[in-house]
Every structure is written in structure tokens, then in C-alpha cells.
Amino acid sequence: MAPVAYFVRRFLFFLGTLWAAVTLNFLIPRLQPGDPAEAIVSRLAGQSESIDPAQVQAIRVMLGTPDGNLFDQYVQYLGAVLHGDFGISYTYFPYSVTHMIGQALPWTVILVGVTQIISFVVGTLLGTWAAYRRNSRVDSVITLGSTFLGTLPFFWLALLLVYVFAITLRWFPERGGYGGGSSPGWNWLFISDAFQHSVLPAVALLITGPIGWIIGMRNNMVQSLGEDHTRLAVARGLPRRRVAITYGARIAILPNVTGFAIALGGILGGTVLVETVFNYPGMGRLLLESVSSRDYPLMQAIFLFTTIGVLVANFLADLLYGFLDPRVRKVESV
């Protein structure tokens, strides 16, 4: 397969998954029996006296109308999605769903982005070290330690962090993204405040974050160190450290690159839990809030945004992998 064909294939896969995610988002609310939109509209009408026609329309577009067949609804829905029109949030009326997501997105992107880059670097370094000193005390401490930490439930660790460091010791604020005294903007007060609030959620993500990379990197590298080309390098009398880095680690890091993108979906799941524990104003908490207040348009849009984010990340990782490893451009991708 020529190199171009690899990239074309990945792009087609990206488009396909994108379409599937959008369609899945369309189908999920329609899977339940009866007319979901009617049920929700009447439920909303029971909760508040004034219900805006725009809201009803938004719910209709997202959840379907009793009249008109499924195909017409689908076309209408696709049109709305293409225009970025996800309707009006019920809970945060009159704000649009897109506005609410725009508010929450930076919090999650910064929190997840920073912690995952740190996790990847730390995990890869520790995994390399463990493989370099394999079967030594360092190796068993790193491997067993990360296996043990990996068994601890994510959100439970987060709860314990709140209990110990926020409530008992009072070192860090207990919940939220920033304090009452500051307001979001490019000023020192807000940034330092937001940083303080993000320390505990970040620690919760960082305790378990590097584990996958440690294990993956160690196992890949132990394998690549046992291969013939590495033996040849050793036989040539190259320094041990150089063999480990340029012959072992360089090859072993490749699967971790695609692993990073695949893991992102799971990481976002963990972020939902961590954001809930810390009441952190990101996408995860917004998703849960929309679920508990039955804000279906908002919930649907968050699910779609999250999925598209993961798909884009996967596509970028595929492209990167194509450049890094010439072999995948030749072989039919699995």
C-alpha cells in the first residue's frame, strides 16, 4: 500500500466513525418506546409555567416529532448538527447548548490535557527505566506498585483526596473551579485561584494516569530488547544505555502513541467521575447535571462533542503514527 493510501484509509475511517457517532446520537433517544419528546415537553410544562416555543422546537429537533417519518427527522437533525445548532438548554435558558459547552470545554481540555501529557511522559520514562533494569528491585517496585495503584477505584481515590487534603487538612479548596472572590479572565487572581482548585483533581488523575503507559512501555521494550537487531547492537559493543534508548525505547514507544488516542475515551470517563467528586466546572459535571435535570438537548450535545473529540484525537494519532512508523503505511492496517 502506498503511503497516501494509508492516510486516505484513515481519513475514510475517521469520516465513517464521525457519521456513526452522529447517527448513534440521533438513534439513542428514539430507541425508547413512545414519543420521548412529548414525554419531556409535558414534564417540562409541569415544572415551569412558561415554556418557550423555541425550547419545544429544540427538543423536537433533537428527539423527534410524532409526525414525519424517521428519515425526515434524520435529515432535519443532520442539518441542525451541520449548522452547529444544538438548540436551547432547558436548565440554563436562554443560553444555547453550544454556549454552555463553550463555557465548560476549556476546563476539561486544560485539566485532561495537562494531566495526560504528564502521565504519558512520566509513565513512558518509568516504563523505560523498569525495562532497562528488568528483573531488578527497581523493576519490581515499579511494576508491582503500578499494578497495585491500578486496582484502586478512580473516584474513590478522588473522594479520599477531598477528605484528607481539603476537609481535614484544609490545604486545598474542596470543590469548584475557582473561588467566589475571582471571576474568569486573564488576571492573576483568577489564574492562581483556578490553579489551586485544580491541584486535587489533577492529582486524582495523575495517580492512576501513568499506569497504562508504564506497563505498556515496559512490556514493549522488554520485547524489543530481546529482538535480533538489539542483539546485533550489543554484539557490536555499543554502550548498554545507547542500545536501550535507540534500539529498545524508540521502537517500544510506537504502540503507546496509538494507545494514547484509544485511552482518551476511558480517560474522559474517569474525568466525568473526578469532575463530579470535585464539582469541577468541566464537561463531565455538565453532562451529569444535564442528566439529573433532564436537560436532554444539552446531554445529547455533550455526548456528541465528547465522542467527536475522541475521534479527532484518534485520527491525529493515526496520522502521527503513519509518519513515525513507515511499516504501517505498507501493511494493511488492522
Binding site: A20, A21, L159, S292
Partner: protein, 309 residues
């Protein structure tokens, strides 16, 4: 695969005697070979014992639990006392009884969702790998889609629409979102098995596809299926706990996730009820540990090089 490993003395100091005993037991009672291999691995043995303890607690939960887990007739928000070993909840329920009954929920969800997603993965992976062609293209696309769609947000969305949130709904939601990883591994295993000589021989002998799959292929994938089941069960236990912690579990079922949810909402941290906060998470963590330890032994089952461990 079913032949017991040669009785090589283990390098570990204390395992030698136990190993000899295990061999003797196996000879005496004719235990299956795979069990002997698992039992011989020290980490795996600890895992099996831990899991057995959890299963016993789950089976005899009503006998072990001192009170009904939903009985809220006790003083609220107590710390650990002689009557309530782990204290009481903000509603006045006994935390220890909830912990015991919660083991049941986790194991039932792990078993049911583990079996269900293993089955889905097996059917999809087998079909994709064995049939090939455009069927494989379509199924591989589905598998890759299932791998990248973020599972927890999907679970949350599915659970949010459900009119009744029973335990079975949770199990189905978890299985529907968690089958893809196993399917991918099974598919690639099938592709390597498909071209083996004995499969070709069976085909020339006139065996039908269904028979070839059932008699020739599946038996050669046993350890892969078991590992896949363990992984799926583990994911399901974590998924149930996560959903329940978010308040999206079955409201009628007591589980470790709902306990943590209520501990968090009921102000366990402010009243200093550390036992209420620590016990469910620790139980969850020990259950996950037992699965991880057993997996060490299953690795040895599929990779003979690890067996002397």
C-alpha cells in the same frame, strides 16, 4: 493446553512445598489441568482465595449481614460502634450490612455483564475473522467504533433515557458498551488460526463452518476467552460502581457504588465517618486486586514460559 505443567521446582522459596501438595491434590482428586496450573502460581492462588472469599460473602450475604441493609431504624451518621461495626448512614442504615450485600451486586454484575460482553465479542470477532471479506470490513468498523466511543458518557446517556433503571438494564448497558476490546483480540486470533493446517484438513473433510468453529477453533481460544471474560467482568464491576456513584445505578439495589454516592452526598466527610467512606472503596479495590492476581495465573496458562513462576 489441558496437560499439567512438568513439576519443575519453583525458584520462590515457600512455593515448593505448596506446589508438591498441589500436585498431590491434583493427582488424588483428578482436578482439571488448567486449575492445577493456576493454583501453582502463587499470585494466582492468592487471587483465587480472595475471590472465593468474596463469593462466599455474596452467597451467604443475608446470613452474614447483621441487619437489613435498607433498615433505617438506627441513629443516623454514627461512627463505628460495637453494634454497627462501620457506623450508620445519614439515613440510619447499617454500613456493614450494606457492604456485605454490596458484594452480591458487584459479583452479579461482573458475572452477567462479563458473560454477555464476552459472548457479543466472541460472536462478532469469530464472524469477522472467519468469514472475512466485506463482512469483516463492516464488523471491524463496528469494533473500532466501539473501541473509540467513550464508554462512560455513552453509559450515562443510555442510562439517562431508561424509564426504569433496574439492575438488568445496568448490566445490558455495560455489556453493550464494553464488548469491543475482546472482539478485536478474538478477531486477530481467529485470523491466525484460520489458515492452520488442521482447519484446512477439517474443511476438506467436509465439516460445516459451525462445526469447525465449535470443535476446532473455540477450544484453541479457551485462555483468550477466559482472559477476555476476566477483563470484561472487571470493566463491568468498575462500570457499575462508577454509574452508581454518579447516582445512575439501580435505586433499589445496594452496591458499593451507591454506598460511596450516599457517603459523599450524606456528608460522611463532614461528620468524619471515615469507615463509611473507606470500606466500600477498599472492598472494590480488593475485588479488583483478586481479578488482577488471577490474571497472572491465566497468563501462565496461555504462555508456558511463565509457568515455572
Amino acid at each position: 493446553m489441558s496437560t499439567p505443567a512438568p513439576a519443575v521446582p519453583a525458584p520462590g522459596a515457600d512455593t515448593e512445598g505448596v506446589q508438591a501438595a498441589a500436585t498431590a491434590v491434583a493427582r488424588g482428586t483428578r482436578l482439571p489441568g488448567w486449575f492445577v496450573i493456576l493454583w501453582r502460581n502463587r499470585k494466582c492462588r492468592i487471587g483465587i482465595l480472595m475471590l472465593a472469599a468474596f463469593v462466599l460473602v455474596a452467597v451467604f450475604a443475608p446470613l452474614i449481614a447483621p441487619y437489613d441493609p435498607r433498615d433505617d431504624a438506627f441513629p443516623t451518621s454514627l461512627g463505628p460502634t460495637a453494634d454497627h461495626w462501620l457506623g450508620t448512614t445519614a439515613q440510619g442504615e447499617d454500613v456493614f450490612s450494606q457492604l456485605v450485600v454490596g458484594a452480591r451486586t458487584s459479583l452479579v454484575v461482573g458475572l452477567a455483564a462479563g458473560v454477555l460482553s464476552t459472548l457479543i465479542g466472541l460472536v462478532v470477532g469469530l464472524t469477522a475473522g472467519f468469514v472475512g471479506g466485506w463482512v469483516d470490513e463492516v464488523l471491524s468498523f463496528l469494533i473500532n467504533l466501539g473501541l473509540v466511543v467513550p464508554a462512560l458518557p455513552l453509559m450515562v446517556t443510555l442510562a439517562a433515557y431508561a424509564p426504569v433503571r433496574g439492575l438488568w438494564l445496568i448490566i445490558i448497558v455495560i455489556s453493550v458498551t464494553g464488548w469491543a476490546y475482546g472482539a478485536r483480540i478474538k478477531r486477530s486470533q481467529i485470523i491466525t488460526l484460520r489458515t492452520r493446517d488442521y482447519i484446512t484438513a477439517a474443511r476438506f473433510a467436509g465439516d460445516r463452518t459451525a462445526r469447525i468453529i465449535a470443535r476446532e477453533i473455540v477450544p484453541n481460544m479457551t485462555s483468550l476467552i477466559v482472559v477476555g471474560f476476566m477483563g470484561a467482568a472487571l470493566g463491568a464491576i468498575g462500570g457499575e460502581a462508577g454509574l452508581a456513584f454518579l447516582g445512575l445505578g439501580d435505586p433499589l439495589t445496594v452496591s458499593w457504588g451507591t454506598m460511596l454516592n450516599q457517603a459523599s452526598l450524606g456528608g460522611a466527610m463532614l461528620t468524619g465517618q471515615w469507615a463509611w467512606l473507606i470500606a466500600p472503596g477498599l472492598a472494590l479495590s480488593l475485588l479488583i486486586t483478586s481479578f488482577t492476581l488471577i490474571n497472572f495465573g491465566i497468563d501462565a496458562l496461555s504462555n508456558p514460559h511463565l509457568r515455572e513462576d
